[in-house]
Subunit: 190 residues, 4 copies
Amino acid sequence: MASPNKREDILSAALILFSERGYDGTTIPMIAERANVGAGTIYRYFENKEYMVNILFQECLLDFSESMKKVDLTATMNLKEKFYLLFNQMITFAKAKPEQLNFFDTHCTGYYLDDKSKKLLGEYLDFLTSFIEEGKKSGVIQDLPSDALISIIYGAFSHLFKLIHAGLIEESPHLLESLVDCCWNAIKIH
Amino acid sequence: MASPNKREDILSAALILFSERGYDGTTIPMIAERANVGAGTIYRYFENKEYMVNILFQECLLDFSESMKKVDLTATMNLKEKFYLLFNQMITFAKAKPEQLNFFDTHCTGYYLDDKSKKLLGEYLDFLTSFIEEGKKSGVIQDLPSDALISIIYGAFSHLFKLIHAGLIEESPHLLESLVDCCWNAIKIH
Amino acid sequence: MASPNKREDILSAALILFSERGYDGTTIPMIAERANVGAGTIYRYFENKEYMVNILFQECLLDFSESMKKVDLTATMNLKEKFYLLFNQMITFAKAKPEQLNFFDTHCTGYYLDDKSKKLLGEYLDFLTSFIEEGKKSGVIQDLPSDALISIIYGAFSHLFKLIHAGLIEESPHLLESLVDCCWNAIKIH
Amino acid sequence: MASPNKREDILSAALILFSERGYDGTTIPMIAERANVGAGTIYRYFENKEYMVNILFQECLLDFSESMKKVDLTATMNLKEKFYLLFNQMITFAKAKPEQLNFFDTHCTGYYLDDKSKKLLGEYLDFLTSFIEEGKKSGVIQDLPSDALISIIYGAFSHLFKLIHAGLIEESPHLLESLVDCCWNAIKIH
DNA sequence: GATGAATGAGCATTCATTCAT
DNA sequence: AATGAATGAATGCTCATTCAT
């Protein structure tokens, strides 16, 4: 009857509520109710609400970045091939865990993020940056600041998935295939 | 000494605070202090906090959409020319009123938005949609759902400006010119 | 209808409740109810509960020590005369403000007292000490540590008044006159 | 490894914590941690927190009063000799079990004391009273209410030991011998 | 019109107590 | 017998809102 893993129940509930209503718009009683635990139980697992968002943020980010780093980029591939593999991995993640993406997106600039969360975010961006730098060096990606290029691609990607997740846009294989093309066309040298 | 237009002072203060801390993370006393008015004064101008976000949202959106609709698109222009004009207008708006863009972006899916706000948002999207539809008909824009195309372009644009506004990316004329190209390349037929 | 001095109402209520139930046994709602104010109102006057006890403690102690320092000790008096004047002043205070004495007595070793409260307490004890020292030098008071002598006298005095205040012992002019004698006999050289 | 007597461990921990922080300032988890038992274990030995203070209070008081009643007062002694024996027994107890004295002192007026605790306290006071009455009859102790005289002596004694226990006054054989004299002088007929 | 003192509902958090293991 | 995870009532405190000035 009792769930064997209350910690996960709480994090799942928090993930969805934070995504829907934001950090300050979500109350501990809301999380407790959705997780089917008493309000006090939450404090057995998380020191306080702020620690909780940060842990959730870090777990989401690690999950996402590990998924990305898992992509097998062999040396013989050209950059476009690598880009497509990475981007498709991002799509795979977004389809599998839309709430995580949404949560990450809406909380990555929160005033409540602690140093560890910010550091982790920085590290992940560095990984993406180094990929883009490689493309610029080999002359296939436009010569714009790497963070700007990442921002453009990630913005397009995440905004689209936010609307898909909200049910405002219908997902289709064709759309997702085209999305990769769109993003590649946005940054490649013509 | 006293500001002649307290209503505007309040809205300006709210705009910035809502952008930085979100709706629920912003308190009426915070707004009152930043606007240099008493907390009670806010209730002379706005029925309550929820009405206030909605009015602010609607004013921002109207301001934005009027700015877009003001662009003079003469019949002789081709679609790319129109796109560039519209997009550059969006950039002009973003540079002039970065807080408004940021506020709009972070609040357009808020659970507290009322019907009027949602209706206005829909109308604005329709305007953009009809533009994209035109491009698809004339065979210069890819055959993807219009709202998806808008989402891609708007996502790229707004995410970049969010980072510029946060001081994480440096704005430059070259970057902004290239941004239009990127977005056009993302959706045009190659 | 509304009391003109809510701060005093709150402090009075807190004084009595803290005396009766201790710091931790007294809740903010209890204080609010007794003071006839809303619970939130208390926080307009006191940063938090801990600040409140400390302010109350300091005000009580200042009131008490000012009352003692007000006693006119002319140079021509001998030490016994001075002792009787001071002790009677203490009794006067105890009769006028029994709750203050009781509160002071039960809270002067509280773990929640801040540095300012402790400093004030130290200064007051120094005043008493210097009086006792004078008596020891002039050979009329026993040669024991001054703080021990103070403790003996104050202990006898405060314990008796605690029971009087609790209604367990009946106060009478004769008792109070005798109390001074008892205390003087306890410390004088025979 | 496990203590053979958890009940005593719990009472010892509670005694010290209640003395230092008061009844309401002490939590069950605090007691459990200090006693090296699980929080739930406490409820095997004590129905609830309130029963626990009362049992502790009663055990302390019985311990104290038995120690006092154990003093061998032979019929041939005069009252002063008896007083000195009794008082020195009190000092012996205070030196051996300072926490018990301190706990007793700070909790004997607690709102949470039940009828049994109050009855026991009354009985103990009656014992002391009858001793004082004897002295008054034989004309060596002043004619003041017995409970007042007890209060004066006990107040002086307990206050001094509170400060000794707190480390604010240094204990010395001379001080303790003098203390008896002080207290006797306070109440005897001169 | 403007204020900010006052309020109490509601928040994050703690803690006495229970109970499955 | 002993534990500590789980609970929810109750705490200290905040804040949207009201209203007397």
